[in-house]
């Protein structure tokens, strides 16, 4: 009995000691700015490394590592190194939520980047907002993501702007009067399809059919056969690389002969271009990576990423890379505390990034930059045009 009592006492004392040590460590760090200044700055990151979007997860993880390496090689943040705290969300919102909680409460990150899709990023965004830790969504495009408050930003175009840009290409560059829409049935595809249709119809165009499919669909012959009979001028297909490649292949096999317009979702060098092969030639997309850009940031990124990954970068990689560069820019100029980082991002003007010149961020945290139009030629994305029209590229601020 006595022995058991002393054992419990020992455990109690030990755990109290540990608790005190824990508090001491945390408190001490805050009180000694000189020591803290040399500690690495932690930036949180999550991406779908496993699950159905693992290919994108792989691209963005490489880009995040490349960005952190680059920041550290070029002097860090005023002498402090940056450390990446990365997690896999398996493309599941519930995972993204627990990751966001871990990042904001346990890991002590000063900012975070989402390298994931719309539904996961949307679930995580309010947690960063409440914790007052700035987060930048690399390429998730659902409008609601940034609507929660000040701390959530977006590095690529909001879906409504990109959908509109697609319709602008359809009307002004391709002179299309009728369109068949074929979209992936989720936040991404629906947002783009709706905003495309709204702008296209407002300019007098006609949507002759709308079909949707899951992101694992492979068989498009039935629906393409139907569309063939409708003879539209254009097929708008907001979807991802796996499904996009099958649409390209099967449209070619069916001798469809209809111009196709895609989005950043098929801006994938590995999955889209390789699988669709020659059948992708002539497909036009709206995206944010202009491979032939004269900007040093773009060319350097393409060179470094290709050397590291052994394949050309895609749009998700470029967007993720830029998130870190924007955070670094803000921290170097404004300080590395969450509030200062947030304020710093709002102050960014005409910043040269891999995805083009960032004109700035509006009060919702939406980026303003030119929309790139690329065309597949000989198995590569090449320049087709650039949308600079303020009416199209200015994101909504409400």
């Amino acid at each position: 009995m006595k022995r058991r009592f002393s054992l419990s006492l020992l455990i109690l004392v030990l755990s109290l000691g540990l608790m005190l040590a824990g508090c001491g460590g945390g408190g001490g760090g805050d009180k000694k700015p000189a020591a803290a200044n040399k500690a690495p700055i932690k930036i949180g990151f999550f991406a779908p490394v496993t699950g159905p979007a693992a290919a994108d997860g792989d691209s963005v993880t490489k880009a995040a590592k490349l960005a952190v390496e680059k920041i550290n090689k070029t002097g860090g943040i005023n002498g402090r190194q940056v450390e990446l705290v990365a997690y896999d969300d398996n493309l599941k919102p519930q995972e993204a939520v627990s990751i966001a909680q871990k990042l904001t409460t346990k890991d002590g990150v000063v900012a975070a980047v989402s390298g994931s899709y719309s539904h996961t990023t949307r679930a995580a965004a309010p947690i960063f907002e409440n914790a007052k830790i700035p987060m930048i969504a690399a390429y998730a495009l659902h409008p609601d993501i940034t609507k929660g408050g000040d701390y959530v930003f977006r590095q690529s175009f909001v879906g409504t702007a990109q959908g509109k840009a697609g319709a602008f290409v359809a009307v002004n560059m391709l002179k299309a009067k009728t369109v068949a829409i074929l979209n992936v049935d989720n936040d991404f595809g629906t947002t783009l399809a709706n905003s495309f249709a709204a702008y296209f119809e407002s300019k007098g165009g006609k949507v002759v059919s709308r079909d949707k499919f899951t992101m694992v669909e492979k068989e498009f012959n039935p629906v393409l056969t139907k569309i063939k009979q409708l003879k539209p001028d254009l097929i708008y297909m907001p979807t991802y690389s796996g499904t996009g490649a099958q649409i390209a292949r099967q449209a070619k096999e069916l001798n469809l002969g209809i111009q196709m317009l895609g989005t950043e979702g098929i801006d994938s060098t590995m999955e889209f271009l390789k699988v669709s092969g020659a059948t992708a030639d002539g497909i036009i997309i709206t995206t944010n990576l202009n491979r032939e850009s004269k900007l040093k940031a773009t060319q350097e990124f393409i060179k470094d990423y290709t050397a590291m990954a052994k394949h050309a970068p895609d749009m998700v990689a470029a967007s993720t890379y830029d998130c870190f560069m924007v955070l670094a820019e803000s921290m170097r100029k404004n300080g590395a505390e969450p509030d200062k980082i947030k304020d710093g991002i709002y102050k960014i003007k005409d910043f040269e990034a891999a995805t083009g010149l960032i004109k700035g961020y509006n009060k919702l945290g939406e980026v303003t930059k030119n929309v790139q139009v690329q065309v597949v030629k000989n198995g590569a994305f090449t320049y087709y045009g650039e949308i600079t029209d303020a009416d199209i590229i200015t994101p909504p601020d409400k």
Binding site: V49, T50, G51, P52, A54, A55, G57, D58, D185, S209, R210, D211, K212, F213, T214, V216, E217, K218, E219, N221, P222, V223, T225, K226, K228, Q229, S241, G242, A245, Q246, R249, E253, L254, N255, M270, E271, K274, V275, G277
Partner: protein, 290 residues
């Protein structure tokens, strides 16, 4: 357009028939819904992919994919299902799901997360009939021929051979078959070898059809295969073929005439529910008499 859509439907249905056949065989004898069969579908495609990459020979790739996956089926039966044989079927079901998830991540780690091209070259050229607005893919003939030949062999095996007799006896009552001197262990092992071989053929053909293999390619077959098996009347090979064609045709015709107002898989399950309301025992299932 109707002809084109009917052909589309037959091809889609044949793919489903091939895909679901492996699991039907296993269910027929073991009364286990073997989800890991969908893993074998992906394994077969990946083995073929690696051999194609190494040797450049489509024939070597095809044979290696089927043989190695069949051998894998033998191992799965011996080391996963056999020890669980006397436990509740739920245990086997969960073990199978576990293996399926493991296989998916294994393929991702070994083969990378991206979809890779399974390029067998142009095996058969496509044929166009411009006046009829009809296109027949070369790969379609391959799939239809493979399905027809394999199903014929299976039918002969089941109905016209001693193995088939032992097989049917084991399927009816494993214990009695054993008492009658049938080596049921061997029957079960052969069943898995064949079931996984079928899955591999399906995976490889689908890989060729869509020119891609990827780690999660077994996801859709894993649940669609269940729909086909249930609709066919659980474990009845002929029912599986019929159900596969019904689902393939329904998806295609509804998708082609009304459009993908719902994603295609959802259409398949709506059809499944409607038919089961009418025939709860499945298309060719026997009504249970108590």
């Amino acid at each position: 357009m109707l002809v084109q859509q009917i052909i589309n439907g037959i091809v889609v249905g044949s793919v489903y028939a091939l895909t679901a056949m492996g699991a039907t065989l296993v269910y027929g004898i073991m009364r286990i819904l073997d989800i890991s069969n969908a893993g074998a579908y992906a394994i077969g495609a990946y083995v073929a992919f690696f051999f194609l990459l190494q040797t450049g020979s489509p024939l070597v790739a095809l044979v290696a994919g089927v043989v190695l996956t069949a051998a894998f089926g033998f191992l799965v039966q011996k080391f996963l299902y056999a020890p669980l044989m006397n436990k509740s079927p739920n245990v086997s079901l969960i073990a199978g799901i576990g293996l399926f998830i493991f296989l998916q991540d294994f393929l991702r780690l070994v083969g990378g997360p991206q979809a890779r091209e399974l390029n067998f070259g142009t095996l058969l050229p496509s044929i166009q009939f411009p006046s009829l607005q009809l296109t027949l893919y070369g790969t379609w003939f391959l799939i239809l021929a493979a399905t027809a030949v394999l199903l014929l062999i299976l039918w002969l095996l089941l109905n016209r051979s001693p193995i088939g007799l032992a097989w049917r006896a084991t399927a009816q009552d494993l214990e009695t078959a054993k008492a009658m001197g049938i080596n049921t262990n061997r029957v079960v092992a052969f069943n898995f070898i064949l079931g996984y071989g079928f899955a591999a053929v399906a995976g490889i053909l689908v890989g060729i059809l869509y020119n891609s293999v990827y780690p999660t390619m077994g996801d859709v077959p894993a649940y669609k295969m269940l729909a086909v098996i249930v609709l066919g009347g659980l474990g009845n090979p002929l029912g599986t073929v019929l159900a596969a064609l019904v689902i393939g045709m329904a998806e295609t015709l509804i998708g082609g005439y009304i459009g993908f107002f719902l994603p295609r898989d959802a259409i398949a399950f709506v059809v499944l529910i409607l038919i089961l309301l009418w025939r709860p025992q499945g298309l060719l299932g026997r009504r249970r008499t108590s």
